[in-house]
């Protein structure tokens, strides 16, 4: 692999897969470099065909993990079980640094496919107001693009990945190219209909899932089939029912013959050519031998995920860029954001006791942000939505953790009980310059790479949102017809871990002004024209919607632009 590639793509996750597919399909020789191991789609690491009694240790994680304090950031999380352990990264092996009083959570999946294997697949467009927010209230760097710039790329991405969703006709959550939506449960329908009677701005809609319900010709040609409603997505899907790099973009890239793939290689730096003023390629460290080697290309796309790309940028030091490549503005690493929750609410839904659910729907329901405008005298800007669900009625459970044994207890266990609706707030965190990631001055990982030190926290605006979200959701549940409503609000003095929602972004924001931003409207470095960063690092604000669809649209758009420059030799 001594050739000079047209393009190097760093990372093979959601955005890297997209960059690879786009460049390969446009005829460019593309090298994808992935730090994790190779994972075969439908290979032995997929555990989706195992029944509960076939999963090792009955899906319990070895207790030694706790004894050795491994995976400490995700132990206890619902998505982290024995059947999915192989797809998550151990933070003990791959440490990060943060201030003691502000623990940060960086949930990673170091393997081919990255977190596209493990993600929740909720794919929501951002609306026009989301792109206008920074300019409107003066926080962060104004977005250099608007909804209209991305709309065709949302269409393009949705058509390929397959999105099952309903056309809800909401300005705040524009509709797109959708396949048949998932059905709401009887309980969810009750709430949705009740909300419609009272509100014009608060809607309960079915989630929008990157799980296919009506496979297109293109999807079938890639070996993808209809989602089977197993909801075992995080174990990998042998049906190719959900979108991942492994099931979709990488096979699409591979079949062009233009893809080279290197796994087990950590991109350490982007190499800068002082004479041309461009990136000439990257230096990697082999994860196994720890040896360094370099690859060259005409264009470099960083798609390693927001924080990893920041780490690479900061680590890429040269005479021109002593503080990291593409960092003439000094803003690389700044404006770290994530969504946050601070309110969990639930309530019984009466009146549907004679109804039952079947199957395991792979997506929740959603209440989109209705607080873009500062109204009702609230003391915060921006807003929040709620991820919510009542897809199955609850059951009586077992007595595993309560008093009682014997025949009677057994007979009463796991019997159908009420329908209960659960809602979780997802708030928009403002882009604060001081929330930042930098290289730790002394601490290094086992490959000698400086650790990322991440210093980020919520501020008063977000805390005020939590209070109002708590009031709002109580009312929403009441209006929805719920009873026995319980609200859990995180106290103001309790640290809420940034990164916990796994939507970490920012750090190399897009903007028109090179003095205050890292990337232009094409996600192209202001400083180094053949360097692009198209993962979450490029985001100038975080809105409230799950972000990966927007990352994909930005990546496809940037790749299209870069391809045109490559073709016209203007890079």
């Amino acid at each position: 692999m001594s050739q000079v590639y047209d393009v190097i793509v760093v990372g093979s996750g959601i955005t890297g897969g997209w960059a690879a597919k786009e460049f390969c399909e446009k005829g460019f020789k593309t090298l994808v470099i992935e730090r994790g191991r190779n994972v075969e789609h439908r290979g032995s690491e997929y555990t989706d065909m195992q029944a509960p009694w076939e999963i090792q240790n009955r899906n319990l994680l070895e207790e030694s993990l706790e004894e050795e304090d491994r995976y400490s950031n995700i132990r206890g999380k619902g998505y982290f079980k024995k059947a999915t352990q192989q797809f998550f990264t151990d933070d003990k092996e791959h440490p990060i640094s943060y201030p003691e009083d502000k623990p940060f959570k960086w949930v990673r999946s170091y393997q081919l496919g990255g977190r596209s294997v493990t993600w929740g697949r909720q794919v929501l467009r951002w609306g026009p107001k989301d792109f206008e927010a920074n300019a409107k209230d003066g926080h962060g760097v104004p977005w250099p693009i608007g909804y209209d710039d991305l709309a065709p790329w949302y269409d393009y991405v949705e058509s390929f990945i397959g999105v099952s969703a309903n056309k809800d006709g909401l300005d705040v959550l524009p509709d797109g190219v959708f396949q048949k939506p998932w059905e709401m449960s009887a309980a969810e329908k009750v709430i949705s209909q009740n909300l419609k009677k009272k509100y014009t701005d608060r809607h309960l809609i079915i989630g929008r899932a990157a799980n296919i319900t009506e496979p297109t010709q293109e999807q079938m040609e890639l070996g993808r089939g209809k989602c089977q409603a197993r909801s075992y997505c995080k174990r990998g899907c042998s049906f190719g029912g959900y979108f991942s790099s492994l099931s979709a973009t990488l096979p699409a890239a591979k079949r062009t013959g233009n893809l080279d793939l290197v796994t087990d290689a950590i991109v350490y730096s982007v190499d800068y050519d002082e004479t041309t003023g461009k990136a000439k390629g990257v230096t990697v460290i082999d994860t196994n031998t720890k040896e360094k080697r370099s690859y060259q290309a005409r264009v470099v796309f960083l798609c390693a995920s927001a924080l990893a790309s920041i780490q690479i940028l900061l680590n890429s030091k040269s005479k021109t860029f002593p503080n990291g490549i593409a960092n003439s503005s000094g803003t690389v690493g700044h404006y770290i954001m994530d969504h946050f929750t601070g309110v969990i609410a639930n309530g019984d839904v009466p009146g549907v006791e004679d109804k039952y659910g079947y199957g395991r729907r792979p997506i929740a329901t959603y209440i989109p942000n209705y607080r873009h405008e500062q109204k009702d005298g609230v003391d915060f800007i921006r807003g929040y939505g709620y991820q919510a669900t009542a897809q199955q009625r609850s059951n009586t459970g077992t007595h595993a953790q309560k008093i009682g044994i014997g025949a009677e207890v057994k007979d009463n266990s796991n019997q159908p009980s009420n329908w209960r609706f659960l809602a979780l707030m997802y708030g928009e965190m403002l882009p604060y310059f001081e929330n930042h990631a930098r290289l730790h001055p002394t601490k290094k990982d086992q490959w000698g790479i400086p650790l990322l030190h991440i210093d980020a926290e919520l501020k008063q605006n977000e805390r005020n949102m939590i209070k109002q979200a708590s009031v709002d959701i109580k009312e929403i549940l009441e209006v929805g017809g719920c009873q026995d409503i319980k609200i859990n609000e995180t106290p103001e003095d309790q640290h809420i871990q940034i990164g916990d929602r796994i939507h970490e972004m920012g750090g190399a924001c897009m903007g028109d002004d090179p003095k205050v931003s890292v990337l232009n409207k094409w996600s192209q470095s202001h400083d180094v024209p053949n360097l692009f960063v198209t993962d979450g690092a490029c985001m100038s604000s975080c809105a409230t919607q799950n972000p990966s669809l927007t990352y994909m649209a930005i990546t496809a758009r940037a790749a299209d632009y870069a391809a045109k420059l490559l073709a016209s030799n203007t890079l």
Partner: protein
């Protein structure tokens, strides 16, 4: 003598340790309705396995549906002691077994495996009640942990999930009971 077969599935939790399928050979002591395990397991010895098998069956007895013994709960637990259990859990389970034996001796002046089923049931019921009433003792913590894993293994077993469908084929959110039963019987949405 009856044999509690460990199916291949039971072995999944302990693949690394077992080469061939094995069985827990038991013989029933009819007078006191106790299944006595005759061979040591991979982690627990035969006596411990006998006690645990009995305790699990008292917790989750066979009724018109399978019980803990039918679901091989203790055979799976024995394997999982090697692949799942941490140091503390191992200590707790050994402690709990010893304590149950000790309580039997103190109360009935006999080994646990010598007392009648109704006495054994009474003992475990009492232990269960005490363990949830007063949670700050070592015995309570150990017993509750043991109970939790026994229930977990049982309720994730094939025997306890006769209606489980690995590939539902779709989702419906508003079915009548009759419609649901029909789909479950068919085993696929159709």
């Amino acid at each position: 003598m009856s044999e509690i077969k460990i199916s291949r599935r039971v072995l999944i939790g302990s693949m690394a340790y077992l080469v061939t399928a094995c069985a827990l050979p038991t013989s029933e002591i009819k007078s006191i309705q106790l299944q006595k395990v005759k061979l040591d397991g991979q982690y627990f010895n035969a006596q411990q396995l006998t006690l645990l098998t009995d305790v699990a069956e008292i917790m989750i007895p066979k009724t018109n549906t399978p019980g803990a013994t039918d679901a091989n709960v203790i055979a799976v637990l024995d394997a999982m002691m090697l692949t799942w259990a941490g140091k503390k859990t191992k200590q707790q389970f050994n402690f709990c077994i010893n304590q149950i034996s000790q309580i039997a001796k103190n109360t009935f002046s006999a080994y646990y495996t010598e007392i009648t089923l109704s006495d054994r049931r009474a003992l475990i019921e009492q232990l269960d009640a005490n363990s949830f009433a007063q949670t700050d003792t070592e015995l309570s913590a150990s017993y509750r942990k043991l109970k939790k894993i026994i229930f977990h293994i049982f309720y994730t077993s094939e025997e306890a999930n006769p209606d489980f469908i690995l590939v539902p084929g779709g989702y419906k959110g508003s079915l009548t009971k009759t419609e649901l039963d029909e789909i479950n019987k068919r085993g696929y949405l159709g």
